[in-house]
Amino acid sequence: MSTTDIILQQLANGLIMGSFYAMVALGYTMVYGIIKLLNFAHGDLYMVGGFVGFLILSAISSLLGESWTAIVCSMVLSMLAVGMLGVIIQRVAYRPMLTAPRLSILITALAVSMILSNGVMTITDGEYMAFNTDLGFDGLDFGNVFISYTQLALVISASVLMVILYLFVNKTLYGKAMRAIAIDQDACKLMGINVNKIIALTFFIGSSLAAAAGVMAGVYYGSLHFSMGFVIGLKAFTAAVIGGIGSIPGAMLGGLLLGLLEAFGTQIPFIGSEWKDVFSFGLLILLLILKPTGILGKTEIERM
């Protein structure tokens, strides 16, 4: 492989990985933007989404076979189910805590995250599940740069979902209400907006996006495990922070940037892949210290 090929291939890898990060980061950012809660459980919703999609696919594959239609169906159903789960979590665990000290709500979120991952661990006995769709290895081959149809499908569906989200948030009244709540909750109440309902809607959308990413991951990688939400949760958080937490375009941008960064990071000479995570986390820490508002985030008004 020539250097150009490597660069192009890593570019493709980075963008594919980045679109995953972006989808999960969106949920983080939306929830954070609206109620300033760092939802630790978000990565686990991604994992649950994968498992739910797997269950649905196994159930309907007898009807539809393991076709793309079946995959799309299970993705949509999983999004609905996990979206509802997100709403329930918000209702049961977070809403009562919104006026509590920050430390308490963070610990609550951590507990929810542990319940989800350990719950799935108990159900699956800690086993890896093979999400077998056998979509084959065909793809677009540009000389030494290769993109499989599965990858292509993933990037396309991630893009479609993100475009839908973008349109929803910017063009519909509900989407605008969501942004407005992030700006001023009281003023929203005075506009006749039922704030609790919109917060629930935000959780629904964020969670279902995570679920969509989870199903895609299942299809793409072919395996599911209860712990798979942890790493991606952290990465997505990093992506959200890079882009500016609270900003929706920021999350998309941050996701893609992080994906690219990691792809090219592996290629740095003399530094082995074993140090990769040190760089990701180091970058996150530096960013939080030096520019906590990220690239597209708004500067927060000083305290008091």
């Binding site: 805590m97 610990i107 952290l234 140090w275 986390f281 939080l288």
Partner: protein
């Protein structure tokens, strides 16, 4: 009828406990129990209780950060790791006497506390939680990748220390070692809690701005909490290394940090007896309810959620008002 007599009995006991003198009696009885327990216990029971004392130290250390200063630290295992590795490396690779490595372990963990705390304590609390999480992972990965730390397999063959000519190798030795350390940890925690510094932590936890307006350097005070918390972890880590004789990066994962945090939250953040109970619950619960097996973390997490929702002050009751 039964309940009412029960409550009155409980009330009586609670009343009885209000007296300083009686509290002392209870404390002495408990201390005697802890001291003489090894005489009736077998190795297994000793091992379990040694572990409980060990977690008591760690939980008390984290309690200073989380309970007193109100900072969420999700990477506490890192400090524990720094202590363990410092001792491990110095004894096994440089042949330094164990007792001499303790100051080194304390020093290194303090430095780690300053490195992570210094620049990040200005951050808002949720960012701080993530930064500490990331830091914990970084420490673990570094330990995994360096030659001197033994890489992924970690350090093995760490020598057992001698104490006045006796090799500390039996379960009973370590039981007493960790019991004494736990008692020291309680004592230090107690003294700190009721000091100028301890009050400053509470002021900052309750209202940062007001504390600052009262002339308290909030970053400095938080850093102090961080560094002292790290020290507890460092000491515990040093003794952990010689007790286990082998340490590996897998011991210092995120879930270890969460487990320690759980102990603090369970018993009651900021309350020494609560934290001790939390640490014991952490260790004894899975031993007693072995059948739960892999569900134990799930049960812990549910308990944690329920506590946060319904009893955020933890199991141990709030002091008199």
């Amino acid at each position: 009828m039964n309940t009412s007599s029960n409550t009155s009995m409980v009330a009586n006991i609670a009343n009885w406990l209000q007296h300083q003198h009686n509290r002392l009696v209870v404390l002495l009885v408990m201390a005697a129990l802890a001291m003489f327990f090894p005489l009736i216990a077998n190795n297994y029971m000793l091992e379990v209780l040694t572990n409980a004392w060990f977690y008591t130290i760690l939980c008390l250390g984290l309690n200073i950060v989380v309970g007193y200063a109100g900072l969420l630290d999700l990477g506490y295992a890192a400090f524990f790791a720094v202590g363990a590795y410092t001792t491990g490396i110095l004894t096994s690779q440089f042949g330094v006497n164990f007792w001499l490595t303790i100051p080194a372990a304390v020093f290194c963990s303090m430095v780690a506390g300053i490195i992570i705390g210094g620049p990040t304590l200005r951050l808002r609390s949720d960012y701080l939680a993530i930064v500490t999480l990331g830091f914990g992972e970084i420490v673990r990965i570094i330990a995994r990748n360096l030659e001197i730390t033994g890489g992924a397999s970690g350090l093995i063959g760490i020598d057992r220390p001698y104490f006045f000519g006796i090799e500390l190798s039996q379960g009973i030795h370590f039981y007493y070692v960790f019991l004494i350390l736990a008692i020291i940890a309680c004592f230090v925690s107690y003294r700190l809690q009721n000091s100028r510094l301890g009050r400053a932590w509470q002021y900052v936890r309750e209202d940062e701005d007001a504390a600052e307006a009262m002339g308290i350097n909030r970053v400095g005070v938080k850093l102090y909490a961080y560094v002292i918390g790290a020290m507890f972890g460092g000491v515990a880590g040093a003794f952990f290394a010689v007790k286990m004789t082998a340490i590996s990066p897998e011991t210092f994962t995120f879930s270890q940090s969460v487990l320690i945090l759980l102990g603090v939250v369970l018993g009651g953040m900021g309350k020494i007896p609560g934290v001790i109970i939390g640490a014991f619950a952490l260790v004894l619960f899975p031993e007693v309810f072995r059948d739960l097996g892999s569900m134990r973390m799930l049960v812990f997490a549910i308990v944690m959620l329920v506590i946060m929702l319904y009893r955020p002050e933890g199991i141990w009751p709030r002091g008199k008002s």
